[in-house]
Symmetry: C2
Subunit: 165 residues, 2 copies
């Protein structure tokens, strides 16, 4: 399935989530690990859309989230900085989610500058992350694979599917 | 805000709902009223998107749904048949919601042929409507303005916004 850039922007305006997790991590220099993540969650019936997004962006993974929910997920500074952020700079979101993307982009750029490796930079990033996804719909994240703690922020979207209750 | 057709298709793939309500209505010849409806619900912070959809399609209304949720809603056979159905015929949805649209379109076309005015036609429409939005996310509809009963089917989407609890 081939996707159009405008379709992707519209779909992400509805279904996408930009999230910055911050997990305690004593082995890291700043004592925490910063985990930016772009996610699109769908019911498994639309898993093919998630695979189409993965092909479109040329990065990320499609995994089961929980229950019948699947997630397309991009973590990793390199992929976010080279693929995800530039796309949404060229194709601005039309919803208020754009404000979250702007903060997400700032965090990714700060991390590219190595700011997440210092306590001062981490404090800056934490302050930005705390302003994200406020009053947004939320879905509890799947457990982080890398952090030692649950992230201090949780992603955007709770969807209640009656078939999962 | 000007919308692109592909953006609209992507956004509706995520956020749109095609619904056929069937309400008892003793004054109608077939004893029921058939109420097809196309809806996009958003938090009020994105009300401007709903107004942009209204301008894009050239029909429908933007109303408060409940709480902080707003809805763009198109009812009325003429508007659905002339504006909504043809658009999504030209710009097919990519998600499984397309299957609901296909049924919705069949109902609209049957109604244009007057089938909803006969008991046999109503039974056909009811059978199609019963196959819609199965296992979809749901949101309880705002009360119908015209029917005497609540519709027998409810639209697609439940979103849980922590700020509304």
């Amino acid at each position: 399935m081939k996707l159009d850039a405008e379709w992707v922007t519209g779909f992400v305006d509805g279904e996408g989530c930009y999230h910055v997790g911050i997990a305690k991590h004593p082995e890291m220099r700043a004592g925490v690990q910063v985990l930016p993540e772009f996610t699109v969650v769908q019911h498994e019936r639309d898993a093919q859309l998630l695979h189409a997004l993965k092909a479109f962006f040329g990065c990320g993974v499609v995994r089961r989230n929980h229950g019948a929910r699947m997630a397309y997920r991009v973590r990793g500074l390199e992929q976010l900085g080279a693929h995800i952020v530039p796309f949404f700079e060229r194709h601005p979101l039309k919803s208020q989610k754009r404000l979250d993307f702007d903060k997400f982009r700032r965090v990714v750029r700060l991390m590219e500058a190595g700011e997440h490796l210092t306590p001062e930079g981490t404090a800056r990033i934490r302050a930005i992350a705390a302003q994200m996804n406020r009053g947004r719909l939320r879905e509890s994240p799947a457990p982080l694979e890398t952090g030692e703690d649950e992230p201090s922020e949780i992603p955007c979207r709770v969807s209640s599917d009656p078939h999962e209750r």
